[in-house]
Amino acid sequence: MSTHLFHSVVEDVPSLRAAFITAMPDCLLFASWQAKESEIDVEDVAAYFGDLVRSNRQGLKALKTWSAEMQITIESAESLILLREINADFVFGAIFDRSAPLGMVRLHLRRMLDRVSTQLPKASLEERPRGVRILEFLDRYAPDPHAVLLRISLRTGIPVETLQAAESLQTEQIARLEEAACRLLGLKQLNL
């Protein structure tokens, strides 16, 4: 889908401050738009909310109440944020002014989704190597992200240079990397 097309879908929606599409499962920014006065780091937003959707999906599955129609609404002090799974590969996010009526927001969201969903690629995305995704996850969530590679190296015994080429990590190295990542984040497992 072209940038021009995405912008044409979203830019005239009233009270909309930003919109983005996140490619799953890697939580990478696929397309975005933001209002002129907005100063959002859309790549970060796309990644964090992609993780949120994934966690939400797993939580609902654990509750045995998951359905593909799942939508998340977040009401913060300044924003009304809606996240919607378009399909297994893409999540659509829209950030509205907090003052926008919820009914109107849902209506616009549905209209945007109708137009966007037909333009997305049909083929499923190739999943990137797990080692790469683990390191990206750490970069987003670990404290002192600039030191993460060093910390992981020290914990796993894997040289920093090897970690920098994470797409080439061996299965056993990935297992060590994952275990160390869990320790750094205090998690029992990584839901990537």
Binding site: P143, S153, L154, G186
Partner: protein, 418 residues
């Protein structure tokens, strides 16, 4: 606490500070957490906790005995009162030790490591192992001191901790027949390694600021919570024997077991020094107290470097001097010794490489902050700003070129542009 305050002293010309002849230094929670975290990364949480506990028990045990001796404390009640008062005075939180000759228990509130970890990281990540090995060591040493047990004979286990979302911290204390002599160094040991002191550029300015800072620091003590909240950080008076004992045990372990990883561990220990300078030194420069004492920082790099040296001296890091400065190109930091060197030489003897990791990291951070921060704009020293300065390839490199641990007569770190 006035009595304890009077036990402070300074090794003249070397700006190393002591409490009852035990070496102490001020560090903030950013440094402390990163330091302990690096020991965890290097050794794994279990071994790390053991080494940190033993270093704490040893260094605190020596401190309690020397303070108690200096104050002529003789009764059990007096010894217990000292244990209750000392930890919060140093900014480490409060710890109620209920000891018996068999051990006992201790309950802590606002203990520095757990409290600071929760404040800094608690909203972001989970943790499933306790954080207060230093307080555990304090509790064990306090039990030994109060009950007059042999050094190193009490073990402590932290079974509740703020970082585990418990309401307080709690330690089980157990005495056994084994004992381990305290492995620390004191002022007499340090004096064996001093050389005649020397000055550098801006010496008069640095000395004057150091004096003012030292007077200020003399009035610093924990509040009702046992916390020293100053300059936007949580400050502690800490035992350099603890820092040195833990760093060098971790470094030597890596050297023995995984020598290929030594440069990684060393980089992380340097990183702790960078965090110290950015957070503590930087926020001190921007504080109202600094403005009252020195005036607002102008941002001139040489002025900034000399200010950093004064802060280091005031906090007990050693007699740091600006030996050489070539504007924007090269900075040479020197010290006759720092707080790391005497410990290494006393405990391990000479080695084949420099071992002043805090000094190395600090020299690099000082240079970056002196040249890349607009001090006149009163910047906020946020984590994001930190990353913008220190993430990725920096335009400066730092190398320790002289170190008494390998036989040189002084410490020197050269920082220059790439």
């Amino acid at each position: 606490m006035d009595q304890i305050n009077h036990l402070r002293s300074v090794l003249s010309g070397h700006d190393l500070t002591f409490l009852a002849e035990v070496p102490v230094v001020y560090h903030c929670h950013h440094y402390n957490l990163f330091h302990d975290q690096t020991i965890d990364d290097a050794l794994g949480e279990e071994m790390s906790a053991q080494i940190r506990f033993r270093a704490a028990r040893s260094s605190v045990g020596e401190l309690l005995h020397k303070v108690g001796h200096a104050l002529n404390l003789s009764t059990r009640t007096e010894r217990a009162d000292l244990c209750s008062a000392l930890l919060p005075w140093m900014g480490h939180g409060r710890l109620l030790v209920q000891s018996t000759p068999q051990g006992g228990e201790a309950t802590g509130t606002n203990l520095h490591y757990g409290f600071a970890w929760r404040e800094k990281y608690g909203a972001r990540i989970k943790r499933d192992f306790p954080a207060d090995s230093f307080a555990a060591g304090f509790a064990a040493a306090a039990c030994e001191y109060i009950e007059q047990l042999p050094p190193g004979s009490v073990e402590a286990t932290e079974d509740r901790c703020l970082v585990l979302r418990d309401p307080d911290c709690h330690f089980q204390l157990k005495a056994d027949s084994r004992s381990t002599p305290y492995s620390t160094i004191d002022r007499i040991a340090i004096e064996r390694h001093v050389i005649p002191s020397f000055g550098g550029l801006e010496e008069a300015r640095i000395s004057a600021i150091t004096e003012g800072l030292r007077n200020f620091v003399r009035g610093v003590a924990g509040d009702d919570r046992g916390v020293i909240a100053a300059f936007g950080v949580f400050v502690t008076m800490h035992l350099s024997n603890y820092y040195n004992g833990t760093i060098y045990e971790a470094i030597h372990h890596i050297e023995r077991e995984q020598p290929a990883l030594l440069p990684v561990a060393e980089t992380l220990f340097r990183e702790a020094g960078i965090q110290c300078v950015f957070n503590t030194f930087g926020n001190m420069l921007l504080s109202a107290e600094w403005e009252g004492l020195v005036g607002k920082p102008s941002g001139d790099p040489l002025e900034m470097l000399s200010s950093f040296c004064a802060i280091a001296r005031g906090l007990g890091f050693g007699h740091w001097i600006v030996h050489e400065y070539d504007a924007g190109k090269r900075f040479v930091l020197r010290a006759p010794i720092d707080y790391e060197v005497p410990f290494y030489l006393e405990q391990y003897g000479k080695t084949d490489k420099p071992r002043c990791y805090v000094l190395q990291g600090a020299a690099l951070a000082m240079t970056v902050l002196a040249h890349m921060v607009r001090w006149k704009d009163n910047p906020k020293l946020t984590p994001e700003f930190y990353l913008s300065l220190f993430r990725g390839k920096m335009p400066w490199t730092a190398e320790q070129t002289l170190c008494p641990t390998r036989g040189d007569t002084l410490c020197e770190v050269v920082v220059q542009t790439r």
